[in-house]
Amino acid sequence: MKVELEADKCVASGQCVLAAMEVFDQDDDGIAILLEEQVGDDQLDNVKEAIAVCPAAAIRLVEQ
């Protein structure tokens, strides 16, 4: 699965980092960045949690 992040929408709540630290990080301004676009099964639940808690609906999972 591929993760897509719309950084324009990000409000720097940091929730995605807490939910999936291996996949998300923040830049110097606290805006979310992707550490990896491709996520395996081991990270899928964490990414789904990040999507659920993101207040700005800035994260998506897409099938390839």
């Binding site: 409000v11 940091g14 929730q15 923040q26 301004d29 606290g30 805006i31 949690e49 808690v53």
Partner: protein, 410 residues
């Protein structure tokens, strides 16, 4: 203001119930029973406010998140239909970007997101631990009983936010006194106004100082935006004021009310006291945020274009109130929602709100509460309430829910 002549069709013959509602004094940690009843009746109900206006109350988790995440609702208190909280609120001015909409909201918010990034907040953890340990040392060395609010809960966020902003410690007492007045509903509008002006004036002077001599703190970075022409002096002061207020009484109330809730749930307190697992501590913080929900007056918005929520069209110009307090007790989302269980996964709570206005300082609040909850009960294992629960005065009338005082001994 006279009551509207036509009662909302939605409610049939019944008049809209008044909001806010009273809690059951025997259940100080639970939302008002009347709100739970409205939630059972449906996702949307009209309520009547102090001024006779009748906004929609959004009662359930999913619909609350949908509205708060919708760009067709406005946080601007000047928008027609915006549900105002009290007479005193009108004309007090807007508190920076929390009462604005995008794109201006986003532009201003992004200027101050940096210090709240997870890693930056983590770097502050040792300093917060020192603050918490120091205050516990002082309490242990002092007389009993002691008021946990005054001796512990209020100084922590105050010291932390002062450190973040770069406010000298000597000015700390002045801050605490004035922010207390600013949120106290028994204060007159004049007293509240005077307290706000005193702090605003102080912050303006501190920012001016940093315009000349920048330091390594948040006030300097705000001052830098003035130099760059991105903020006016007034906007810079407002922003500093917002950061100060937002993190102060809120965190303090979670510390005091959280401690009281744990003392009333000894099995949960025991779990927390005996664990060395940071994950359980973090989980306890989320659960207490969900269970206590101190922002009990709800998130309020004005609808700027017709939107459909749960089959009901909410028209442009109508107000909506999302009482996240009952959203966090929605049985569709949280099993057995009225039970405090620090082992449950409560991460999806809406205690910090939702949408683009979701609390900016939440990583800091979480970290402060993690340090407090993992330290206080270990260092004072016999901590107990030094009065009857009945005698504890709850902040039913305040903007932020909590306790006025919490006498404790050990």
């Amino acid at each position: 203001m006279a009551a509207p002549l036509i009662s909302p069709a939605h409610d049939g013959a019944d008049a809209a119930p008044e909001f806010p509602m009273s809690r059951d004094s025997r259940c100080p940690f639970d939302p008002p029973p009347g709100l739970k009843e409205l939630q059972e009746q449906g996702p949307l109900k009209k309520v009547r406010l102090w001024d006779g206006s009748e906004p929609w109350l959004v009662t359930r988790y999913a619909e609350q998140r949908a509205v708060l995440g919708d760009h067709r609702v406005s946080a601007d208190t000047d928008q027609p239909g915006y549900p105002t909280k009290a007479t005193a609120e009108a004309g007090e001015g807007k508190l920076s970007f929390i009462m604005m909409d995008d794109p201006e909201h986003a532009r201003l918010r992004r200027m101050v997101t940096a210090p709240f990034a997870i890693k930056k907040v983590e770097a502050l953890r040792p300093a917060v631990q020192r603050i918490v340990d120091g205050l516990i040392d002082d309490m242990l060395a002092g007389p009993q009983p002691v008021d946990l609010v005054e001796a512990f809960a209020l100084p922590i966020p105050s010291l932390v936010i002062c450190e973040l902003l770069g406010v000298p410690y000597d000015d700390h007492a002045m801050f605490q006194e004035n922010t207390k007045t600013m949120v106290r509903t028994t204060a007159t509008p004049e007293e509240r106004g005077a307290a706000t002006r005193e702090i605003a004036g102080y912050l303006a002077a501190q920012i001016a100082k940093r315009l000349a001599e920048p330091q390594d703190d948040l006030l300097s970075s705000i001052a830098g935006r003035v130099t760059e022409g991105e903020l006016t002096d007034a906007q810079a002061t407002e922003m500093a004021l917002l950061l100060l207020i937002a993190g102060h009484e809120t965190t303090a109330n979670m510390i005091a009310l959280g401690t009281l809730a744990l003392l009333q749930h000894p099995d949960q307190l025991k779990l927390l006291r005996e664990t060395d697992d940071p994950k359980l501590v973090a989980s306890a913080v989320e659960e207490l945020l969900r269970y206590l929900h101190i922002t009990h007056l709800g998130r309020r918005r004005a609808v700027t274009e017709d939107i459909e929520i749960a089959g009901q069209v909410i028209k442009a110009g109508e107000g909506v109130i999302m009482v996240n307090e009952i959203g966090n007790r929605d049985p569709e989302v949280f099993e057995d929602p009225d039970r405090l269980d620090i082992t449950r996964d409560a991460r999806r709570h809406v205690a910090f709100g939702f949408g683009v206005h979701q609390c900016l300082g939440q990583p800091l609040a979480r970290m402060e509460l993690q340090v407090v909850y993992s330290t206080l009960y270990k260092r004072i294992p016999t901590l107990k309430l030094a009065c009857a629960l009945n005698d504890v005065k709850f902040k039913h009338d305040a903007f932020i829910y909590g306790v006025h005082e919490l006498p404790v001994s050990w």
